[in-house]
Symmetry: C2
Subunit: 146 residues, 2 copies
């Protein structure tokens, strides 16, 4: 209760946030090296919900964080649907009923074991790469000695 949290992650405590900055879609796109089309697509899929000034989208810190998390999730092989599910449940958390919350914990547990497996996969794959690289270097060395 009294210990101040280091920083909010998924949610940015809006009004108190130091970052009063906003972003255009193009800025965000360059920041993360994606196209505006991608960002719009994520919105259409319910992953983002930027403010509008007229027609134009205005992105806040919260949106930027979401995009970042989305892209990270993607790199880990999660589908946009999965990512959205987590985001939606997170948003619904404060007033979420017990069933929803338990479902959320279930999903999180799933993601966790998924990542455990990925860690193992990465370890194994790294050994493979080590092995292949070693052999390749051996062959190269023999070529050089001619």
């Amino acid at each position: 209760m009294s210990t101040p949290k280091p920083e909010a992650t998924l949610a940015v405590n809006g009004s108190l946030s130091r970052h009063r900055r906003t972003y255009s879609i193009g800025e965000l796109a360059r920041m993360f090296e994606v196209t505006p089309r991608t960002i719009r697509f994520y919105e259409q899929e319910g992953l983002l919900a930027p403010e509008r000034r007229g027609q134009t989208r205005i992105y806040h810190e919260k949106d930027r964080v979401r995009l970042k998390l989305t892209l990270r999730g993607k790199r880990l092989g999660f589908s946009l649907a999965e990512i959205r599910e987590v985001i939606e449940m997170y948003d619904a958390m404060p007033d979420g009923n017990a069933r929803q919350l338990k479902r959320l914990l279930e999903i999180l547990s799933d993601k966790r074991s998924n990542m455990e497996r990925q860690l193992e996969d990465i370890r194994l794959m790294q050994r493979e790469l080590d092995d292949v690289e070693m052999r390749a270097r051996e062959v190269l060395e023999r070529l050089d000695q001619n």
Copy 2:
């Protein structure tokens, strides 16, 4: 030269192998929980090249290992094309020219940094999950106390 390698990985030293077993496509499919269709598709994409007895495909240890590596690669987000590229180069290694070998090392280095990033992503994502889970549990507890 004299130190015996613990075990071959990508390539199985065929004739000396203890495993003289072969597999049908259905067996392999069940082992890895994929459909036969998937395995045939991988062959069509140049990832597998099983022996044929008449029409029927016969898979050896080497093919099984390849399939395993392929699926692992997939879980790490590599495309079939990328995986094939590595496999092809590996096969061409013994008589590979220097250019090919250097290109292989390059690819391997790419994969490595890719995986480094994934490791970092996983670490970050795990923190996110911890955070979300904590909050969810807090909310749940308050609900239980009513």
